[in-house]
Symmetry: none
Subunit: 210 residues, 4 copies
Amino acid sequence: MSEKRKTIPSLVKDPKLIEKRREQIIEAAVHLFINKGFHKTTTREIARASGFSIGTLYEYIESKEDVLYLVCDAIHAEMETRLREAINFNGTGLKILKLAIRSFFRVMDQMSDRVLLIYQESKSLPKETLRYVLGREEEIAQIFVEILQKGIADGSLRLDEKHVKLMADNIMVLGEMWVFRRWALHKHYTLEEYTEKQITLLLREISVSD
Amino acid sequence: MSEKRKTIPSLVKDPKLIEKRREQIIEAAVHLFINKGFHKTTTREIARASGFSIGTLYEYIESKEDVLYLVCDAIHAEMETRLREAINFNGTGLKILKLAIRSFFRVMDQMSDRVLLIYQESKSLPKETLRYVLGREEEIAQIFVEILQKGIADGSLRLDEKHVKLMADNIMVLGEMWVFRRWALHKHYTLEEYTEKQITLLLREISVSD
Amino acid sequence: MSEKRKTIPSLVKDPKLIEKRREQIIEAAVHLFINKGFHKTTTREIARASGFSIGTLYEYIESKEDVLYLVCDAIHAEMETRLREAINFNGTGLKILKLAIRSFFRVMDQMSDRVLLIYQESKSLPKETLRYVLGREEEIAQIFVEILQKGIADGSLRLDEKHVKLMADNIMVLGEMWVFRRWALHKHYTLEEYTEKQITLLLREISVSD
Amino acid sequence: MSEKRKTIPSLVKDPKLIEKRREQIIEAAVHLFINKGFHKTTTREIARASGFSIGTLYEYIESKEDVLYLVCDAIHAEMETRLREAINFNGTGLKILKLAIRSFFRVMDQMSDRVLLIYQESKSLPKETLRYVLGREEEIAQIFVEILQKGIADGSLRLDEKHVKLMADNIMVLGEMWVFRRWALHKHYTLEEYTEKQITLLLREISVSD
DNA sequence: GATGAATGAGAGTTCATTCAT
DNA sequence: GATGAATGAACTCTCATTCAT
């Protein structure tokens, strides 16, 4: 179902070192891309901010686009990790769902710079790679799909199976909205207010009892 | 409230001619930006596609970013025009709201390339300009705010005044979602199905009767 | 029979100007390539020696290899022109042949730097282009083929038709030898001595009378 | 007369090992240079194809140019060895000469890739080194000089002493021509036909009887 | 003696912008 | 008002060479 993860060739042999250096690259590039955008960040800046020379940078990647891929993938990985860590899968689907939404919105809030980065820059990835990165997004949506299905199964949620995916997408989008429209929303709401309000809206329709 | 529209200086005196040429520029650039992205489109390409020389292009703009601004502004203008044309402000707030949502979703669908363009490229605008462009987005949200307020006033909608802006934003976001997630959504829904489903979700909470 | 001449695209429209600038490029590049070799000459050096900026250079070529092609082609053109100008096609084949050999050897001598350049650098051309350039060499050999055939026809040369091409190649190669082995040959011979000696050798076999 | 062979310093002490490793380097580099050319072959590729690391490569050479020198020298050595092995120095000068020419042309044919390599890449050698490599060429020409002189001495060849060197050069050049113009010559001749034809041409003038 | 990660000068190429015509 | 040739800073990427381990 999901595209296979891209493996970026490296001229360096030691896998431990590759991982370490790529973490440095990601750490450096995330901040640069957030502040200047992908196109306005130069490979030299990435190298310098990573703590090594331009030559060394290219020992660990093949092209600037590879850095963007590494960054996007790392962000998604962190999003998913944080989300999964925050969710406790005990209790009714409804209960889990509420927890998951709160967690997701919180993760969006904490990672808003990086979420924005993905949305604004991932289009610069090569087509093939872009598909994979978009696929990671779907994996996160899938978490909500599963929770919703659990809720349907245990009777705590009433929702046509047909609309499960849409509901999952709605949750995702309303979470991302907190990021995209923060300049407007932060004026009126705290994260908590926003979260509770959206939960009310989203669940009114589908929760059997709350 | 809203930022003042930016005036791009031109070396040319005749305002009629300026408008005509800028329309040519916008027409050409929209397609180029959609297909290649802002950064990968060259000013030479814009000039050629506009039907004149690079020198002439720079008689009507001061920088490449100006073209992006013209394009974003034109897209917003078209969005707003289409939306306003489609809405009939007669009837209860609830009725108008449904019509407006349907219209907005349809406009999003029809203009999806251009909507995407704004979301992906507007970040390349100079800060000041970006603020103005984001402001245009608010103007559209404002349409929904007004409709919601009318509905509250005439009793067809039950919604805390405090949440009006959020509801308007939700509508916008769910409309934009049809664009951003089209690769996922189009598999499961037609625009009409999607629209009705989301209307149900959005209004369940707030409509007094439907 | 011969490959079609390559047309290098230019960003500049005026054909007169293209020709003029390319002449400048060729003039500059020939000397640089002779002195430093193709690989050790930078595009910046070519631009500077041509009298304009690197940006301007790239208005008239698409790649550094294009410069090499221009240079090789110009050298061949000059070789052929000089040779054809020097040959008088009146008289018996034998007489014309002797004149042609002397002319060819003289041209080789005068252009020895450039002949060397072609032999040492043309391999860096893209395959397709290389084929064309090698073809030009054949066109020159063809001059000798025609003279030989004229001599056979008028009875002044006795040579199996089958060996005409080989004889033409031999003439070419012995002319080029004056270039490739000049470090050895110049110690022992003047150009004139060398020429007469080789003519004797080459014609002993085939001339009916001299 | 001939330049002294260049001695490449090595960080390694053991002469046996140096020789072994350099043979590996030559073997690897010859093929790489033939296929990609000297400039497009990287030292990393040479090391890998040699079977060891880049660091080890530089234990046995001081620069990439050293590899080119090793390669050119090895090719010349092989040429000379093969030629000397094939020649039987018994008989009249004329007889030996014919044998030598046939052998030389055959060696040229068998080693054509490598002969071409020397002609196209040796110019990239440092001036000093180049002189030595070109000198090796002379040593081979010297073989023919000696044979010619033997033929003059024993009366089987009639040739002005003054022209001996030229005749030797002619032989060399016509042999190399089989390599340089193979794309043209192979269409018309087998190696044997070519050889016999050229022998006829070359000897007509000088052989007392054949 | 062998390794391979690190280096950085320097390469070819692009393209937004200018300005003389 | 229109043109398009000229500019050169800035870009991504390469690769011969070094040296600590």
